[in-house]
Symmetry: D2
Subunit: 414 residues, 4 copies
């Protein structure tokens, strides 16, 4: 393994080794045709670099033009596909299958793969897709182009290629500053705040990385090791809390999960991340028996406005009952839970375990979740069956307490 550790360090060194040649001023149309053409596979490195550098210097207007070129001129040709399909149906040979595959895949996919041969290109391509998502919204052909990016990224960022790493106070500063920047749930407001989340022995942080962009976390989760289930994020983040020896903890609380790369939207890592961290922490700390989240209920406030407009928000029990009812009964038209965080965790096979009042008193917590939070429980022995039931019948797994609370709320509102 040490070989690997060592060898990876060269990935990025290469960046500087290749001299720059003469500036290549041809338009994108020619450059992309060149890269995709016969010689592109062999001598395309310079063309690919030129395209990426040129792109990086573009303004939004120029980027849109580049994307439109890809979406309109480097797409599939329906006639060609149909001919190849006919030929394939007529005789299913290696050649006819290859011809069909080639026709059915738009040339821009091969273009993106060839762009990726340049050192550092993966990161640049992820950023390119972030641009596309931002600029292409609502434009059908650009949304189609995005499906190609997404298709390739799903393959490149396959779970088997990702690496889970603990993030600690011993991590490099340039990684830590990204944790600060990307934290999306409970903002980190300074290096001291960060330190409180990653340095103490009862605080952990884990992130997924991809070997081709080792300086960029893809997603990370923050964990508090506790005795008993944490009831509020104030407790978790307090700078005055008393520290615990990790070995004494019986519970791991996942209190924040943040995606880092806008360009990897819809490439799902969260489920794998949580399960891997549960598995790793179980191995390391045999005292850990319970793995729960401490999650916001971002749709609660809006739902309360219509479903329980006159509730006394200071009445904790009533609020807990309503939160339980919201989580277990409020549904989208497609039958899935209305709450997006609930959809994520229930979809992963977690169950609704506990609701907590006055659990997030931040401005954002009060505004979105009426100060309430919820613990989703990850019990590895049940996640598969929970997940399957959820996937097949939209059945929601919940603790007896939650079910009982929800019933209370029903009665009360009846």
């Amino acid at each position: 393994m040490t070989l690997l550790a060592d060898l990876l360090s060269t990935v990025f060194e290469r960046r500087t080794r290749w001299g720059k040649g003469a500036v290549d001023n041809r338009p994108f149309e020619e450059l992309t045709a060149d890269l995709i053409g016969a010689t592109g596979e062999i001598s395309g490195m310079n063309v690919a670099r030129t395209i990426l550098e040129r792109y990086a210097a573009c303004d939004d207007e120029e980027k849109l033009a580049f994307f439109r070129h890809l979406s309109e001129r480097m797409t599939i040709d329906a006639g060609t596909v149909r001919d190849a399909l006919d030929a394939y149906e007529a005789g299913q040979t290696k050649a006819s299958y290859r011809a069909f595959m080639s026709a059915a895949e738009p040339p821009r996919q091969e273009l993106i793969r060839r762009l990726n041969q340049v050192p550092g290109a993966t990161k640049a391509l992820v950023a390119m897709r972030a641009d596309l998502l931002r600029l292409g919204k609502g434009e059908a052909s650009l949304e189609a182009l995005d499906l190609d990016f997404r298709h390739l990224f799903a393959s490149w960022f396959n779970r088997g290629f990702l690496v889970l790493r603990p993030i600690s106070w011993q991590s490099p500063a340039h990684i830590l500053e990204k944790i600060i920047a990307y934290e999306a749930v409970h903002a980190i407001d300074s290096w001291e705040d960060l330190r409180r989340r990653v340095e103490p022995t009862d605080r952990r942080c884990f992130a997924f990385f991809h070997p081709a962009m080792p300086d960029e976390p893809l997603i990370f989760v923050e964990v508090a090791l506790t005795t008993g289930i944490a009831a509020s994020v104030q407790d978790v983040l307090s700078s005055e809390r008393s520290m615990l020896m990790a070995e004494e903890a019986d519970t791991a609380v996942f209190y924040s999960i943040s995606n880092c790369q806008a360009g990897l939207a819809s490439i799902s890592f969260g489920n794998s991340l949580i399960k891997q961290v549960v598995a790793d922490l179980s191995m390391e700390l045999s005292g850990l028996k319970t793995f729960v989240t401490l999650s916001p209920i971002p749709g609660l406030s809006v739902w309360l406005e219509t479903d329980a407009p006159y509730v006394d928000r200071e009445d904790d029990e009533r609020m807990r009952a309503l939160a339980a009812r919201y989580l277990t009964t409020a549904k989208r038209p497609d039958g899935l839970p209305l709450d997006p965080v609930a959809r994520f965790h229930l979809g992963n096979g977690a169950e609704i375990h506990k609701v907590q009042a006055r659990a997030d008193l931040s401005e954002k917590g009060l505004r979105q979740s009426a100060g309430m939070m919820v613990n989703y429980l990850y019990d590895l022995s049940r996640v598969t069956q929970n997940h399957e039931r959820f996937a097949e019948t939209h059945g929601i797994a919940a603790s007896a307490e939650i079910r009982s609370l929800s019933t209370t709320a029903d009665k009360a509102s009846a």
Copy 2:
């Protein structure tokens, strides 16, 4: 970068962290359907592991059955593709494009991607394709299946994901033993022989690795640093040769290139490897001015039998002229050079620089190449134009000496 080095070490640790669950005895048909199905993305890790472990224990007959299942039951459905294509033509929306993409990609591609989420799976899948190539030859549907593997592997083993590493006497033994095993040109017959090729300061070895299978070199090249161009492989490999300080060398001789993974056939690394090594060595040793191969001419003996059956093989000059003529004029029906090694290097943009008599006196060297060898020259300032001329017109780049020699042979045979 040190983060990466460090973080990669976990990829394989995970292997042992997950407990084994109950044995899952369902047939491949059910397992693959399960993995590809709705729940496969979330909870498919165990199913994927089961399939891979089951497969690893199969005999050839069972493997063939598995492959046939993939090729026959998890392929595209022409009717569905046609419908999706029609719908897409009728209205080019995100949804219709997505539906077409989905129909046009055989489900086995998604199956292979999901199999790959298991730690260590990439190596297992490469081995699986090696089986397929071995067992599926000549069976059209299996050859089509192989195109799917190849398509995915070309994406996964994209140049941007590969890592070049020097191999030295300080490399781990389990890597070095693979160098011994995979050397395909000039066999390494012992650890002492290996040491002579990787330990001296005027001998180098470089390999490409993929982060997901860090214990497996993909391809490697052996290099001798010399003054002047090496004229025979005996000189290069002699245990009695006098050593050179690397700084004194003016020439790097690539005397052996070996692919290591049968399962990565047709995924081309050699061109990138050579150019990267040329670039890296240029950086490290500013005294190096010439980069050549010392290559076999494996088609020469057969060609001589018909084209110059009575040649005196002891006549070095005559043999060199014939070798030059063979390399520059003997063509396949498609116009490409008859000699496979020539096709490779000329396709990379190299040029035929020199031919050497009595250059490989091994049994294999005499049998295949009549003892002759050739130096292909890699001049980075010319490889692109050489490559393009070769790709477009099959034009062969050769030194004046080679062209002159070839003419001599023509005249002589006239």
Copy 3:
């Protein structure tokens, strides 16, 4: 080398592997006797750990008692030494020499060595000496005890055991926070300030580390890469300066050198550090031609008060002349330069190259150095002879400009 990289990681892991035994409540007197005794070499690990942990929990009074025990009860016995010396003179055998060596070395040296076998002990012992320096000042027997610490540390922190490492924005946060904490010349007031000193390509930082305390820099130097010699620390630290490509720089300016470990006082690293960094930067950046410091002149203000009390501090030229005169002519009774920073750099073989007015306008710079700074030049081709001349005759190397300025000042004051 990767082995080493890898292997070192275990040094500190061991810390947690040893279970704690029963608490050992014996007094220091017994514990130290035990550790130094016959069984101490074999089974002393636990005793050593007990002593170090006990010590760490002591207050200053108790620490003083511990030190006095070492200084009074674990010192040499003059009578024993004299007897051993007599025996040795009478017959110079291995045995008599060994007996003398043993008698002439106070047992506390062996005690310190045996304490050091505990993982993490080196750092604890360095901290112990910091306590001793603080508490023992002026107490002859404690000052003698300190000589033993210093003797051992000079051996342990031998140049051959130190490792030079670049410090960058990619360094671990727990190292970087120590850089912030230890910077002694130009205070770093935030993580952003730190980033400006270590992240840009034209800013560098290097530190010496010891393998047995890898989390603790011993000494570090901050470097600015510039074109021409930096004339003020404001320019160097400005957040608005324009960045330079490292390759374009012709000068490296060492603008801050800070020792980190109070417990390593009088163990000199600065000279080695500067020369190593000069050598390394020369290798990396061939454009660098000039290596200078930008140093404070901490004794200047005091000297001006008596030697030029009425000088107009706004008269830059006059101030530069006086600074030059101060640096070249103000001496201690022993003939060495009065200015401590001058003693350090001239002792290293540097030469006084340039003096700069209004070069440090910070409160401290104005107070100590009257805002003046000086560039000492490190010319590796001359440092040895400069150093020797300085060591032998106290001769001060200075540029023609400095000598001329100094003369001006002399005349002016005449």
Copy 4:
């Protein structure tokens, strides 16, 4: 920790960074005087390198001359020591103590410390001492010189500076070849033999390293994980044995311990190594309950010749009894066990646990140990008291079986 891993890699890179200056042809006398002199601390790097390179090229005669120069001219001066001692007794000040310390330490110690500042010097100095031990035997002044080397090395190779590392088939070849070369108990005759000892999951190897010579193991131990106590080295080394999963083992058998560095003779690592490995394996494999050696009894054959000349060596029970009697009763004049291996393990606090007949049928095993072997038991809960009893009263810890066997032998011979 990754910082350290990373940073150490520079230790040896430095070697090539310093250009070579003009050749310095002065004799050793001048060079050593120079290095030890006033300027040596600052500018001694080049002189130190010159001395080490010159020394490396010396023949034995010249090396002896060098050693004699050190032993005769760079030793303590009895008169100076006596004066300093008198002054110290008269007034115990910091200055008088420092003067005494300086007088009582021979200048050659400082010389060796200054030599050590050159990168790579530690290894060269260890080799130098190996020469001294070989050449200086019996020459009193050289034996005294050796005590100085030994004194410094004991400080430099302090347990706190050593690093324990597993050696496996993934270790670098240049380390593994040293394991082959240094194995002193049961010779390793090929790379395949080595692989059998380090690759299987039930075979382990651990070595101590020093950060300043990371390519050189200092001492290593080979371990077999077994169920029950291994009864013969043939079983342990057999290429046909059935493999065990490490997790299933209940016993760790230390079947070979080898020192690697002749120049570190009398610097004891073995005791620490065994205890560290016991602790580490206990942590990793909770199934391990018993830690024993499988050791030769190298003095047995000689002892049998006089104490039981007519014993039937085919009578296993009789042989076991005699071996037990030998180990528990045969003593040197100083009261310590006659058998050197017994002295080592009993001195470490191990106990004689079992004796095994026909346990080493190699030529060497039969010749020295009459084919017998012994298991010493390391029970960490008893090693300290065992060690202390052994150190204080030479009391030998042995199992009831051994004591009983020994009694049998006594009676039989009575």
